[in-house]
């Protein structure tokens, strides 16, 4: 029991952050983390004893979030831009940083879900490529290709141009 507390408790701030980054609505995100913690407490003895608590908990949050996002998509509801969080974020210290923040968030929203989660887990949560692959139950190679595509797409969306030609494009030009 104390072992469980010691391993889970320090992860709660990061789990909230990942849930909020995916769902964008603070209340929904905390509901989801609460759900995750309740499951974790209930199934603590069922987890692989050699498994890492962090990847296990992130996988629970991720799967719950994906289920919720699909439900939202089916209902066709909820434009994240109308969220209260978005409104308060819009009142940023300076207008310029507020706009940049907004661009970043809308670019992130425009990513396909599978690219967004890879980018968030690696960049924001600082998880290794192997841990990210385990959380998302995908091969390591898929993590790498999604990461590369996610970054190029984000930059294209935010800057309106590709971040100077990646190697692939140079090759394409040569073929022409």
């Amino acid at each position: 029991m104390t072992d469980m507390m010691r391993l889970i408790e320090p992860l709660i701030p990061a789990l909230r952050r990942y849930a909020r980054a995916l769902l964008r609505n603070p209340t929904d995100a905390d509901d989801l983390v609460q759900d995750c913690l309740e499951r974790a407490v209930g199934r603590w003895h069922q987890r692989r004893p050699d498994g890492d608590a962090r990847t296990w908990l992130f996988a629970i949050v991720h799967n719950l979030a994906v289920t919720q996002l699909r439900q939202r998509a089916r209902r066709g509801a909820h434009l994240p831009i109308e969220d209260t969080a978005e409104v308060s974020l819009a009142v940023a210290p300076t207008q310029e940083s507020g706009l940049r923040h907004r661009d970043l968030m809308s670019a992130l929203d425009a990513l396909p879900e599978e690219q967004r989660s890879v980018l968030l887990l690696v960049t924001v949560e600082g998880l290794s490529y192997a841990e990210t692959a385990e959380i998302l139950a995908i091969p390591a190679g898929t993590v790498m290709s999604r990461l590369s595509r996610a970054r190029d797409r984000m930059i294209l969306l935010m800057d309106g141009t590709e971040a100077t030609a990646p190697a692939k494009r140079a090759l394409l030009r040569r073929v022409k």
């Binding site: 909020r20 970054r151 971040a163 100077t164």
Partner: protein, 257 residues
């Protein structure tokens, strides 16, 4: 020296600082010779830093009380009931369904006396305790104002018990409506964010009433009357936690009378 060619995975690994020192130097050398690739990497690193900065404040926020792990463990422990209790509840539900609306009055008469007080406390606990925006109307800082307000509206002098000795902090209070008139509602919480409420209002009959336990699906509690003033405690905590608190409050209010 024959070097493995630099691939897209190396570029990503460079951005994420996941390369071995030797490989990092090789990628650096490559980028030095390829300004376009270098510009792309620089933009990706800026994106990485922007994303970290954008989401960092969320992890720095205090964790809300409902995500307190000790509390989740505690609630779960209490929720696991022996099978016979679950079955008994099922039988009661069936009986309730069969009895129908017509028997409603007979099964659950409109409560009066201490029972009415207990019901009001449980209802107000269910409404205000989960509120994150404004659980109380007047904060604890205005303890005297709170006592003055309640005393004026209840038309008798009431005190605001200090339970810090028992580990509970006064959050504040509000005036609430009950079928018997206005009541004062105080809310307390402990260091884990577990809240309980105490409701007080004058009783229609003067005198004392002995302390009695009460329970609903969401709360447990104790109610009693003292010199014509009714008190009821309600909270999610175990009766074993609430009972000593009720006794402490009764002692404190007896002294202040």
């Amino acid at each position: 020296m024959s070097m493995r060619p630099i691939g897209e995975d190396d570029v990503q690994g460079f951005v994420d600082e996941r390369l071995s020192p030797a490989r990092r130097r090789e990628v650096e050398a490559y980028l030095g010779d390829h300004p376009e690739a270098q510009a792309r990497v620089a933009r990706m690193i800026a994106l990485r830093d922007d994303m970290r900065a954008a989401f960092a404040p969320i992890a720095a926020e205090p964790v809300p009380a409902r995500l307190n792990l000790a509390r989740i463990v505690e609630v779960r422990r209490r929720a696991v009931r022996p099978a016979w209790q679950v079955m008994a509840a099922g039988v009661l539900l069936l009986l309730g369904g069969a009895g129908g609306w017509g028997l409603r009055e007979a099964v659950s008469p409109v409560p009066s006396g201490i029972d009415a007080l207990a019901q009001a406390a449980s209802m107000n606990y269910a409404v205000y305790a989960p509120d994150h925006t404004r659980p109380v109307e007047l904060a604890a800082a205005d303890r005297d104002e709170l006592a003055g307000w309640f005393s004026a509206r209840l038309r008798r002098t009431v005190g605001v018990p200090d339970l810090s000795g028992a580990g509970y902090r006064l959050m504040g209070g509000r005036l609430v409506a009950t079928p018997q008139g206005p009541a004062g509602l105080l809310m307390y919480d402990d260091s884990h964010g577990a809240r309980f409420v105490m409701l007080m209002r004058p009783m229609t009959v003067p005198g004392d009433a002995p302390m009695r336990p009460h329970a609903t699906a969401t709360s447990n509690g104790y109610a009693w009357a003292q010199d014509g003033l009714g008190y009821s405690l309600a909270g999610a905590a175990d009766p074993a936690v609430l009972h000593p608190l009720a006794d402490t409050i009764r002692r404190a209010t007896a002294k202040s009378l």
